[in-house]
């Protein structure tokens, strides 16, 4: 048997309360989204049916705020009906032309259809009636068939309810969007198509005698935004705090130029990155303390230079997860936070793509099926800052030469192979490049310069996933990549560089993961995390590290080649144990390191607890140990300290989540992070018995504290609006050694407020705004100065290191977008204005030569960006 359920369409609606001079209802509410309830398993097995009358409370936005069962019928039907009705969405009622709340009464029917053995009938060949997408007497031929597609993207839509109202026949489309009605008699009918987040379609159809209809129905996304959401299944929760953004939700956050990854900078716990840096500062920690992972493998950065866009095309993103602390054991070797990005599978029902152009860069994306089981996606982006600058900069004098070429590009490619029962295979390739070239020469002056700087990296990431016994899934993922940073400087007319730095880092990593449910109350996530990094330094520079006071000495340049290696093997495991309302997640991570031949080890026990306090409230707490190896240069034999150890962080936190309904979510958390054994630079030398000296360079002498509170109220994406409000209180202090006092971290910001809101006006229009407020960055503010006769400059006299602050930062960004949907493609034009009120935000304070006068260094006051994007 199969169970189906549906709600009465056109149910009786309660009239609103009638006060004196009561407003007149000028428009009845319309059900625009119905969700089929889940048939209670026990009732289904027992062959029970039921009709559940419910009262649905609908607010002025058309959102269901409560569902009352009028007469309980038991057997789980009441709860199933309530759960389904809570997901309904209405076009709200209107009173005197103004939307208002209403209570709607309807009945949800739970009925059983008998399974009928299919009988081959020639022709046509009917499908079994339990085949997905089919309805009616399977012995009879299909007389109406069709496919549901999304308007403009042509995406085939599964899970859509298609019904013939006159016959009471409902069918849900299969994964490919197909549906079929068997044995419908000739006549005139009304075809009703209902899908979540799409406009409802009512289509008159005429079926002639001895005829069959083949239909294609295109559904328009609600409010016409083609960049709408993909409903995602939730995975097991192993962490206390995970803030997840999906690609489709966040291409419209103001101030991000449609870049979802930039939107994480508006989440709680993330401090404001100074203008042009484009770093992620989690809970006041240093940017290096936060790991960035793409498909489980570490990458060196996520943004192009000067705070440019992220290195991944938004179409390639599946999800972005931010773990500000207490993250699962599968993430290691970081004691700050984790940003985990998952890329999107290339599986496609046809050739789809997008093209986006704005004043800074152009990007394209295409995905296509190669065979039934193989699909591919590619994307690329290139900036044209170089061309823009060429137009803006004044032309050099005759005979002089000036070239300024900042340029960045990135590319992604992914191949997916569906191996059926044997699992899934994918290979992802990423490349990112940022380059700056400056040439400046003037025959009137003897000095000239030519500078080249480049930051590049690529990754190739393989991934094979297959089911194991029971509910377990095995994932094997090797990866290889290279990061390079190169700089060279010379006179413009020189044949070769005078100074040069080239750092390359080859990373080979391998991850094995076994995850899944071990039993009804136990979930396992375990694996192996191997990473080998070899870093090479090629340096051409004047190096004076072997004697005292090299400053000012005229040293010849010398070529230097250095190499350091780091190998790490980690074993990790988290086990989620459900104990009634309590979920405990003990975790353990063990890492062994070989740092340029020196062995190290770390053990990271972690514990997470979540307690369901009520249907709306969840309490949570965590504690754990997190280790992080030093940067490669810190354990170099010459410039570092081979005896350097692993940094350690202790995380603890407690908080609560409140979710009154599916649209609203609140999350608060207080946290503390104790950092120890931090690597700190030192000028110290060890004087040996023979009179020689050995520079120490680095020590694990630093430590620090971070504590704070963060909260977030979020309204989930609905047909018209989304938004969130966050507040973060944070204090982060460090010291280089225990003889010093604690000083504020460079990026410490006491108060951070972010507010994001976006609203779809209809007819393809969407308006949004983002407001940010943050305490100014710490400053060392001199109170006087001393003339240094030996340098000719002045030394600042300050009352304390980083004891002052720059003024508060506030910025409001706005965005307007208009989308047009066509049958097979769509187009959007947007205007994104950063700092719409042109506020002069102070990024730093500069001083005159003797620290008597100061002036603010402000960020760009007003930055409008016009962009256009098409999608098919």
């Amino acid at each position: 048997m199969v169970g189906t359920a549906h709600a009465d369409d056109g149910a009786r609606r309660d009239t609103p309360p009638q006060p004196a001079k009561a407003p007149v209802m000028t428009k009845a509410p319309v059900l625009v989204q119905a969700v089929a309830p889940e048939y209670p398993k026990a009732a289904l097995a027992a062959g029970k049916t039921a009709d559940v009358a419910v009262k649905i409370h609908v607010d002025a936005d058309g959102v269901v705020t409560a569902v009352d069962v009028v007469t309980p019928v038991g057997d789980g039907f009441d709860e199933a009906a309530q759960a389904a009705a809570m997901q309904y969405v209405f076009d709200p009622a209107e009173y005197d032309g103004v939307p208002g709340p209403i209570v709607v009464e309807t009945t949800i029917h739970f009925v059983l259809d008998k399974v009928v053995e299919t009988v081959p009938v020639e022709p046509p060949q009917p499908a079994p009636d339990d085949a997905p997408g089919h309805v009616g007497d399977a012995r009879l031929p299909v007389t109406i068939r069709g496919q549901i597609r999304e308007l403009s993207t042509r995406r085939h839509l599964g899970g859509v309810i298609v019904s013939i109202a006159e016959l009471g026949m409902d069918v849900i489309t299969d994964d490919d969007g197909n549906f079929a009605f068997h044995g419908v008699l000739p006549g005139t009918y009304k075809l009703l198509v209902v899908a979540e987040r799409y406009e409802r379609v009512e289509k008159p159809i005429v079926l002639a005698k001895d005829d069959a209809l083949d239909l294609v129905v295109r559904l328009r996304p609600l409010n016409g935004n083609p960049y709408e959401t993909v409903v995602e299944g939730e995975r097991e929760v192993l962490e206390v705090t995970r803030r997840k953004l999906t690609r489709d939700q966040l291409t419209s956050v103001p101030g991000t130029f449609g870049d979802p990854i930039r939107a994480i900078q508006a989440l709680p716990g993330i401090a404001r990155s100074p203008f042009g840096l484009g770093v992620i500062i989690v809970r006041g920690s240093n940017p290096d303390d936060t790991g960035i992972f793409i498909d489980g493998h570490r990458v060196p950065g996520i943004f192009h230079f000067l705070g440019g866009p992220s290195i991944i095309n938004p179409e390639f993103l599946d999800s972005i997860e931010l773990y500000p602390g207490g993250f699962p054991a599968r993430f290691g070797r970081q004691h700050g936070g984790v940003v985990a990005i998952e890329t999107r599978a290339s599986k496609s029902d046809g050739v789809h793509g997008s093209l986006a152009i704005d004043i800074l860069n152009a990007a394209g994306y295409v995905r296509a099926p190669i065979t039934k089981r193989v699909s591919v996606a590619v994307a690329g982006r290139r900036s044209y800052l170089d061309g823009v600058l060429a137009l803006l900069l004044p032309k050099p004098k005759a005979g002089a030469q000036r070239v300024v070429v900042p340029v960045y590009y990135d590319g992604q490619a992914r191949v997916d192979v569906d191996l059926g029962k044997e699992g899934k295979l994918s290979v992802l390739g990423l490349i990112s490049s940022d380059a700056l070239k400056v040439v400046n020469s003037n025959p009137d002056e003897q000095a000239s310069l030519k500078l080249n700087a480049a930051i590049d990296f690529f990754r190739v990431i393989g991934k094979y996933t297959r089911p194991l016994a029971g509910d377990l899934t095995l994932t094997l993922s090797p990866a290889f990549g290279r990061d390079s940073v190169a700089f060279s400087g010379s006179q413009a007319q020189a044949a070769g560089p005078y100074s040069q730095l080239a750092v390359t880092q080859n990373t080979l990593s391998y991850r094995m993961r076994v995850a899944g449910r071990l039993g009804k109350h136990t979930y396992l996530d375990s694996g192996i995390d191997y990473e080998s990094r070899v870093t090479n330094y090629d340096v051409l520079a004047a190096i004076g590290d072997d004697f005292r006071n090299s400053f000012g000495a005229d040293l010849p340049t010398e070529q230097l080649n250095r190499g350091v290696s780091q190998t790490a093997l980690g074993l990790h495991g988290d086990v989620a144990i459900d104990l009634g309302k309590l979920r405990l997640v003990p975790g353990l991570r063990v890492d062994g390191y070989v740092l340029s031949g020196q062995t190290r080890a770390s053990i990271d026990p972690r514990l997470v607890a979540k307690l369901a306090l009520s249907s709306m409230w969840t309490g949570k707490a965590y504690a754990g140990v997190f280790h992080q190896p030093p940067q490669p240069e810190a354990f170099d034999q010459r410039f570092g300290n081979p005896a350097i150890g692993i940094e350690r962080g202790l995380h603890g936190g407690i908080g609560a989540e409140w979710q009154p309904d599916r649209m609203w979510h609140m999350d608060v958390e207080a946290y503390v992070v104790r950092r120890q054994n931090l690597v700190a630079f030192t000028n110290d030398v060890v004087v040996n018995e023979d009179g020689t000296a050995t520079p120490v360079n680095f020590r694990n002498s630093g430590d620090g504290w971070t504590y704070g509170f963060e909260g977030m109220i979020r309204r989930e994406l609905s047909e018209r609006a989304y938004g969130w409000l966050t507040y973060t209180f944070s204090r982060s202090k460090r010291r280089l050694n225990n003889e010093m006092g604690y000083a504020l971290n460079a990026f410490d910001q006491t108060h951070i407020i972010n507010a994001v809101a976006s609203y779809k006006l209809g007819r393809g229009w969407e308006l949004g705004a983002r407001f940010r407020l943050a305490t100014g960055l710490p400053e060392t503010q001199p109170s006087g100065a001393t003339f240094d006769a030996d340098s000719g400059g002045y030394l600042g006299v300050d009352p304390g290191f980083r004891t002052a602050r720059a003024p508060y930062f506030t910025q409001t960004d706005v965005r307007a977008e208009k989308s047009w949907l066509f049958d097979t493609w769509s187009m959007g034009v947007y205007l994104d204005i950063q700092n719409v009120f042109a506020r002069d935000n102070v990024e730093a304070i500069e001083y005159d030569y003797r620290f008597r006068k100061s002036a603010p260094v402000t960020s760009v006051p007003f930055l409008p960006t016009l962009g256009i994007r098409g999608q098919w």
Binding site: G276, L277, S499, N549, N683, T786, A789, D790, A855
Partner: protein, 323 residues
């Protein structure tokens, strides 16, 4: 990346500050130490107690300027262990180097200098010992002690004092053939008025001491080139951490200062820049414009010559700007 960001920030900066090359009020312009460095014969494998050493006295003199105001100035010099801000810290051992009053530096009948003497006795040895004990390199090669200089107009509150600092170096005579640094010298400064290619030696001395200084029209460009004697740039040895020695060649740099007008570069000389350009030694002084000069103006010029080993010398001249 961060340098690029800093560049962007610098472009966004909108501050307009005084030109450090133009002296408009009370400033210490230079301080010499004679000798700038002392080398002490010691056995590095068996270093002596610093308090048992014998040090020679050091003469310290400061060049002070205060254009526009005619008044006497009080000064004081105190030696102490080095600090980040160049001033002596409470609790540190100190030695009084000198103090007193000078007449107005520009108008006094004779040149005015604030000069003191750092004796080599026990108080200085105590400062040296403290410095070595707190040195992160444990006294390897050498240590510097600082002389803090305070200058204030006579009769004004103490918070209007200005401060300066000068380091005095004490090193180990390792290797034995190592010689102490000497203050640099200069043969002359050539002045090319109008940048015609023809130069004349610039007459040295204060405006008050020159009856007929070099006279130019407002806005005139004068290219100034320091001419060094052949021996001005010394070769010197430094011990390396690994027990060896390294031979280095001195750089000389020049800081250009004036009472009005401007310079095309506030400093010249020094080591090569980061892309290999040889440093220019000259700087062009641009005389003040007519609206500044009025009926005529004697503009003091100062050149401060430095090596990278605390050696220092200064030269003073004058340009008369007449419409």
């Amino acid at each position: 990346m961060k340098r690029l960001a800093a560049l962007a920030l610098a472009l966004a900066a909108c501050g307009t500050f005084e030109d450090p090359a133009i002296v408009i009020d009370l400033r210490i312009l230079a301080t010499t130490a004679q000798p700038p460095e002392q080398l002490i014969p010691i056995d590095p494998n068996n270093p002596p107690d610093p308090s048992t050493l014998t040090l020679a006295p050091v003469e310290l003199c400061s060049l002070i300027a205060e254009p526009g105001i005619d008044r006497p100035l009080e000064w004081q010099m105190i030696a102490c262990p080095p600090s980040n801000d160049g001033r002596c810290q409470d609790g540190d051992p100190t030695v009084i180097v000198g103090g007193g009053m000078i007449e107005d530096p520009e108008t006094a009948p004779v040149p005015q200098m604030a000069c003191g003497r750092l004796e080599g006795g026990a108080p200085t040895l105590l400062v040296l010992k403290n410095t070595i004990e707190n040195d992160p390199l444990a006294g390897f090669d050498h240590v510097d002690i600082q002389v803090s200089i305070r200058v204030q107009p006579s009769g004004v509150p103490a918070d209007q004092a200005i401060w300066g600092t000068k380091a005095v170096r004490y090193g180990a005579q390792v290797p034995a053939e190592r010689t102490p640094n000497q203050n640099p010298t200069l043969t002359r400064i050539d002045a090319d008025v109008g940048e015609t290619g023809a130069s004349v030696p610039l007459t040295l001395g204060r405006c008050a001491d020159q009856a007929t200084p070099l006279t130019v029209a407002p806005g005139t460009r004068i290219k100034l080139l320091p001419v060094e004697p052949p021996s001005a740039r010394e070769d010197y040895l430094v011990p390396t951490f690994s027990g060896g020695v390294r031979m280095l060649h001195e750089n000389l740099s020049y800081q250009w200062l004036a009472g009005a007008g401007s310079y095309t570069r506030g400093s010249s000389g020094g080591p090569k820049d980061g892309v290999g350009n040889e440093p220019e030694l000259d700087s062009t002084f641009v005389a003040p414009t007519s609206d500044v000069v009025g009926a005529g103006l004697d503009v003091p010029l100062w050149v401060v010559q430095r090596d990278e080993r605390l050696g220092l010398a200064w030269y003073e001249s004058c340009v008369r700007v007449a419409p």
